[in-house]
Symmetry: C2
Subunit: 188 residues, 2 copies
């Protein structure tokens, strides 16, 4: 499960270090709860370096979400493939994520909830992320005339499971409800 800390190897430069640190802190505590000084201190860069790479905090937020999207999508596609690449792969794939100790829901849902009222870019970025997620779901569903509609419904149910798993002490209820929805949609 390597969404959280990116590559196993050492980040290659200041920009990458900033991005990774911001990613970890923003996801864990929230964007507004994390000041730029903290990102700077924990990534070991100077303030001038920070602002050279990210002219404002909002720029960093946008970059954070792009970074998160790239990593999360790579993980999701890989996890679906590892679990067999069919509809039955969906629940075990998200289960890996939900059981991660650092799990705190979806960075896009969280960011829209936190910032959507004041930084509308975030909504557009999240929408695009969800479209790509839905496309990845469609790719593991059986071909049929309903495939696109089923993918929309399954992706929506995954979002519901993400939220419920974030609230509950254990992800079990969310996982079994998601399983139930997928089974009934695909009539398996």
């Amino acid at each position: 499960m390597d969404i959280q800390n990116g590559q196993a190897d050492v980040p290659s430069g200041a920009r990458e270090r900033i991005l990774q640190t911001a990613h970890d802190l923003f996801y864990r505590d929230g964007v507004r709860a994390t000041g730029v000084d903290r990102v700077i201190a924990e990534s070991g860069v100077a303030k001038v370096t920070f602002y050279r790479h990210f002219p404002s905090k909002n720029d960093l937020v946008r970059a954070y979400l792009a970074y998160r999207h790239a990593r999360w999508m790579a993980w999701f596609i890989d996890a679906l493939a590892r679990h067999g690449g069919g509809p039955d792969a969906i629940v075990p794939a998200v289960e890996e994520w939900f059981r991660d100790a650092r799990y705190r829901g979806c960075a896009f849902i969280n960011s829209v909830g936190e910032l959507g009222g004041v930084l509308p870019d975030v909504i557009e970025i999240a929408r695009s992320h969800k479209q790509d997620m839905t496309a990845a779901v469609a790719a593991v569903l059986p071909r049929s005339r309903q495939r696109a509609k089923n993918a929309q419904a399954v992706a929506l149910a995954i979002d519901g499971a993400i939220v419920r798993a974030q609230f509950d002490a254990s992800p079990d209820a969310a996982l079994s409800a998601l399983e139930r929805i997928i089974q009934s949609l695909l009539k398996v």
Copy 2:
């Protein structure tokens, strides 16, 4: 649709005025994006009055969520009844909400995303809210041995629809995906 502005009549006192103002601002812009001075100015109270009723901002946040819960649940139960009180009431009920111009998703999902990493009370409050919402959903489902499980799955799908409706320019896709899930779960 009266979640947003509470009663039609004038709030009865300073505390109510503060709560209603905080509700509107927190929901629209986010909690951390809204300073206490703004709540104070817009509710027309003095600072001492504000802090007498809410000893800290975190107390206000907790009160905001309790206030939101009471009003949202009252609306939800009423909307389900107005649309016939059966499973077919679910989609038209949430549609009323999604099409409200002030719609910005679920206050509980947003608050957990924003504050869940730093104010854990919020998660507990949100969990309780979702339990009550699930119970209201169960009450409109047909009696059967699957009712509790179906209610969990439907409630989870509603959360997914809430998120998608928040991201998309129109709630149409979320509403039809939700309809599809409910129909397939209940085999209608």
